[in-house]
């Protein structure tokens, strides 16, 4: 699971109001090289919740992203884009879990696949 996907996931348990972002529990993470495309990154940027990405990257051991959401001028900086690229697309959570911030419920991640299936009482 890449952090792009993590940025798009929220707790789907019935009644949960603050289900985003899910906290990461990292047992095994890996970095996989992905071809760089600045247009993709620039187009994706406005849709990303920045703090969620920064925190998630940090829990994966990557602390190079700026804390503050960058100004749009930063999107012209190749150096910034490469860090954004790495955090968003190259860091993978292979084994671990996503934790609902409101209920603490664990959504396991196995072989890079998050399991968001709910139990009957959660639907």
């Amino acid at each position: 699971m890449r952090l792009l996907t993590h940025n798009m996931l929220s707790s789907n348990i019935k009644g949960v109001m603050n289900g985003f972002p899910l906290r990461l529990e990292v047992e095994k993470s890996v970095s996989k090289e992905v071809e760089f495309n600045s247009d993709f990154l620039r187009n994706m940027f406005p849709k990303i919740e920045w703090k969620a990405l920064v925190d998630a990257a940090r829990s994966m051991g990557y602390a190079e992203l700026p804390e503050e959401a960058p100004e749009s001028s930063m999107l012209e900086s190749e150096e910034f884009l490469m860090k954004f690229h790495h955090a968003l697309l190259e860091l993978h959570l292979e084994e671990g879990a996503l934790i609902c911030p409101e209920t603490g419920r664990r959504f396991p991640v196995n072989k890079g696949i998050p399991n968001m299936l709910l139990h009957e009482d959660e639907v």
Binding site: N37, L117, L118
Partner: protein, 285 residues
């Protein structure tokens, strides 16, 4: 807005056309490697996972037929609901390219074996999609709203008793309840929420699903539609439908047809975008 209607969608009858149910009830049916599917190797399978079949091939053929439009469209995010073996999402990713080409992929399935098989299929073909084990898009719907540029779905469309719908295991690949519409009807509003302004949906349906009614439902939501691929046997007809937002339909400007200031070109475009559905409905299939 689509520039042309699909005139020659009708393909010759396939004597070996199999519905999902046939495929799984006659277990000795061999997996046929046609020229279309030769590109995607069946690297992984599982008894509880739907293997690519005529409907999967039809969907990929539809995408291939529309490839030029898709490439021109420059989608950023593509998604498959119910990825099964991963055949369709893998084909799509090979066809359109990956992040280097500016495209990212998501795939979901509620069957834990299917997501595993999909991952293996993707990996074997050196393409990547983020795969999520979930019911339709549960967990993604809040953040992915209006973000998906291409959605592909081969839904459980076989008419079955309602209590067969959504059960664990392979039957969830085909069991569609009354008129085979149970899951399709759940999917449509979700797709509407997730598709971007320029978003396209490709969906497989049977004649038994009453596709003209589906078109009507989508039209109410502001979508035009056409049949991209059609496969027929004596018993049944399978359609791959394409839906896209149409600004005229959205604005409800079909009233303009009576406005004498409307140019003939506008009338023609309006009619043509409706034509495939009307033609289909009138043919009584």
């Amino acid at each position: 807005m689509e520039p042309q209607i699909e005139a020659d969608a009708l393909k010759p009858s396939l004597p070996s056309f199999r519905t999902k149910e046939d495929q799984w009830k006659s277990k000795s049916v061999p997996y046929k490697m046609s020229a279309r599917s030769a590109q995607i190797r069946l690297v992984s399978s599982h008894p509880e996972v739907y293997e690519p079949c005529d409907d999967s091939f039809a969907l990929v053929d539809a995408l291939l037929a529309d490839r030029t439009n898709l490439l021109e469209h420059r989608p950023m995010l593509c998604m498959e609901l119910g990825c099964g073996s991963g055949y369709v999402i893998t084909s799509l990713a090979i066809m359109l390219g990956q992040e280097g080409a500016g495209v990212s992929y998501f795939a979901t399935d509620m069957n834990p074996h299917a997501v595993k098989v999909t991952s293996e299929t993707l990996e074997a073909h050196e393409v990547h999609a983020d795969v999520v084990l979930t019911d339709i898009v549960s967990g993604l719907e809040r953040r992915l709203g209006s973000m998906v540029d291409v959605m592909v779905v081969n839904p459980p469309y076989v008419p079955t008793p309602e209590d067969e719908v959504g059960r664990n295991g392979i039957a969830s690949a085909w069991a569609g309840g009354e008129n085979g519409r149970s899951v399709i009807d759940r999917i449509l509003p979700i797709v509407d929420a997730l598709l971007s302004k320029k978003g396209w949906l490709y969906m497989v349906t049977l004649a038994a699903n009453n596709p003209s009614q589906i078109c009507h439902i989508m039209r109410e939501k502001g979508y035009a539609s056409r049949i991209v691929v059609q496969r027929s046997t004596e018993e049944e007809t399978l359609h791959v439908m394409k839906f896209w937002r149409d600004s005229e339909i959205q604005a409800g400007t079909k009233e303009q047809l009576t406005d004498n200031k409307t140019t003939p070109a506008v009338i023609m475009e309006s009619l043509l975008s409706q034509f495939p559905c009307l033609a289909f409905w009138r043919s009584g299939s």
